[in-house]
Amino acid sequence: MNLNLCLTAICDGVSSAALLYLTALGLTLIFGVMRILNVAHGSLYAFGGYLAATFGIVIAQRGLPPALALPALVVAAIIVGVLVGGTLEVTLLRRILDKDPILQLIITFAVFMILEDVQRLIWGSQPYFVSDVVNQLGMTTVLGITYTNYQLFVLPVMALVAFLGIQYFLKRTRLGREITAVTHHREVATALGVNAKHVSLLTFIIGASLGALGGALASPTTSLVPGIGADVLVLSFAVIATAGLGQLAGSAVTALVIGIARAFAVYLMPEIEVLVPYLIMVLVLLVRPQGLFAAAEVRRV
């Protein structure tokens, strides 16, 4: 176990953590504001990925300038966030805010099931691998290992932009402060004149777009197949639960920890790689069930 190995594992870990963070960010934001754990978030990730792949194929076929490829990913994510996320919130989620939490969970689970089939009906069951963006950006060699510039630079930068952007947005813009108010106490915020309905809708759209962005940015590096939504959801869940639900900055830390731990596992003991995130989650939650960064809540009677 030498320094070289550590540095390479860290490089690998950071780029996978970047993707993980982007997806988890949307999930934890939505929980923070609406107190609903959106199981369908995995489907939003998948839709973002598939739409991005479709855009990539269109760009290649129509001979459009390749420089459009990267912005197309972001555009795809926003479209999914607004259309799918917005529709979901308006038609369904705002009507279940006062229901039993079990029912809320199971409704989002039903939505997840529906969207899985919709995804299969639109894009089919064969794998999509649209990686032109990655090929265009070239490679870099670090300590004898060659990485794609996409995974080494683009992904961590996007994650950083999202991290700083969200912090700025929440603290400095009016909408952001309204969101923070509603997260803290919905009733009091409404009493102070904040349109909570409006805020919920916008937050959901932002959260959905972030989830879709995770999928869109992941799509050039991996192959898209039915079922990735389920895998991503439970992994994102591990990230945000370990950090504490609703902890935006904390999720960045746990995403890094989990990403790097997995990378080390592949180098040292590959069998436990898939086990690592959940093991971390169990150990943290047994000691601190509210997560690493959340304050302990007094349970309401």
Partner: protein
């Protein structure tokens, strides 16, 4: 009185003889259940098999089917997972009355399905999966494999690698984590230890079946710098692995040995570089040096391209072999049965010791239900005629050279192989021709 008794006895005896001699009534159609991957990463592999089945069954039916009986295929998706596959398998046999099952692609599925087929007493031809353990662990009555098994495939691969690159020192393996991935490495490694014991194994990586991201494995391999990387991956998994490895330049300095990559040549196109060792799990190739000019083969390729837009790959060829075995066995059984429709047991008997042919070399079925199929290998090369790589410096290894005899366990047999195998005069080589 005596006359009446005589008449009654005669009538009874006659009707008895009539029922006994009548045998099985010829059905109006023969339902054949076919399992293949229609969803998930493996579907790039399973769908060509399905297309081939549709083309060939259509052809067979147009020529009258099997002795006048039409074949109706019923497709089952292997991609739904083991227990759902089993439910569907049972339903197709019991509710829809399939009499023959062609199952499956994945060695994992075959492991699950074989005992169920035996239980349900339905004829099951394993049309693509290779794990040798199924037929070696148990003597089956109803379960057959129409193609070669893992031992034949991996030892033949070993021979080709040793002849093409005799002096490599280190090797790493990246296989899919399931029965085939594990068994294929076990066999190759055992053979390697006998024929070239000084080779060091630097890493044994088993990403999960259906993995969509290999970046950490690729980083690790770049750090280790093996001379040879072996991967028996296939389908979408192989495509993703090669694309990612190619993007990161891993294929520049390492020899990749991909015994199942014939099925990915066209899809990968430019992403696959020159100088990669490729196999086809059998002698399957649309540019097969011995059969590419056969009229039947050319007609099949034409129909396949018209239907799917691509060249046939080895799942399609495996399907052709399995269907040929099916038809041949039924026809032989009918002959043995004096023209009457045979029972499943009679077909099974006829299938043992059958000779049949897909679009490669002729195959033989052994007494232990295992088919004997030659193996084709080559090295990738760019040519202007095709937008993807073709195989050059090809070699065909006959099955008899690299298959353990009936009744012997593969791992025991592998320990006894000798380097004399590498100089056998049964190995035939071919260069690429247009």
């Amino acid at each position: 009185m005596k006359r009446k008794v005589f008449v009654i006895v005669a009538v009874v005896l006659c009707s008895l003889m009539a029922t006994l001699g009548y045998g099985q009534q010829k059905p109006s159609e023969l339902k054949v259940g076919i399992t293949t991957f229609v969803s998930g990463p493996a579907s790039v592999f399973g769908l060509p098999g399905k297309a081939a089945a549709e083309i060939l069954i259509d052809d067979m039916n147009r020529q009258g089917g099997i002795n006048g009986v039409k074949i109706i295929p019923i497709f089952i998706d292997e991609g739904v997972g083991g227990d759902k596959l089993l439910s569907e398998y049972r339903r197709v046999v019991q509710e829809q009355g399939a009499k023959v099952m062609l199952a499956s692609i994945s060695s994992g599925s075959c492991n699950i399905v074989a005992p169920v087929a035996e239980d349900l007493k339905v004829l099951n031809i394993m049309w693509d999966c290779s794990t040798e353990k199924i037929l070696e662990s148990h003597r089956y009555k109803y379960v057959f494999r129409s193609g070669a098994n893992a031992t034949t495939e991996m030892i033949a691969t070993l021979i080709y690698v040793l002849k093409m690159k005799p002096d490599f020192k280190t090797i790493a393996v990246v296989n899919m984590d399931y029965a085939w991935g594990r068994d294929s490495w076990e066999l190759f490694n055992a053979g390697l230890k006998v024929l070239k014991p000084d080779v060091k194994v630097l890493a044994e990586l088993f990403p999960k079946f259906g993995a969509t991201d290999f970046s950490t494995e690729i980083s690790r391999l770049q750090a280790l710098k093996p001379d040879v990387i072996l991967s028996t991956s296939w389908g979408g998994d192989l495509d993703t692995f090669i694309r990612q490895a190619s993007q990161r330049g891993l294929m520049r300095n390492t020899l990749f040995v991909l015994p199942l990559a014939e099925s990915s040549l066209e899809r990968l196109g430019a992403a696959l570089p020159e100088g990669v060792i490729i196999g086809g799990i059998g002698d399957h190739y649309f540019l097969h040096p011995e059969t590419k000019n056969d009229p039947a083969h050319k007609a099949f390729i034409q129909k396949f391209r018209a239907k799917t837009g691509s060249y046939p790959i080895y799942p399609s060829y495996h399907m052709a072999q399995a269907l040929a075995a099916l038809k041949g066995a039924y026809e032989q059984a009918i002959k043995n049965n004096n023209g009457k429709w045979p029972t499943t047991e009679q077909v099974a008997d006829a299938m043992r010791s059958l000779t049949y042919k897909g679009f490669g070399r002729t195959l033989h079925m052994r007494q232990d239900d295992q088919g004997l199929e030659a193996q084709l290998f080559g090295i990738t090369k760019s040519v202007p005629e095709y937008p993807f790589k073709v195989l050059d410096q090809m070699m065909i290894v006959p099955a008899e050279l690299v298959t353990p005899p009936v009744g012997e366990q593969s791992l025991d047999w592998v320990k006894k192989i000798t380097p004399a195998m590498l100089n056998s005069n049964q190995l035939k080589t071919y260069q690429y021709t247009k």
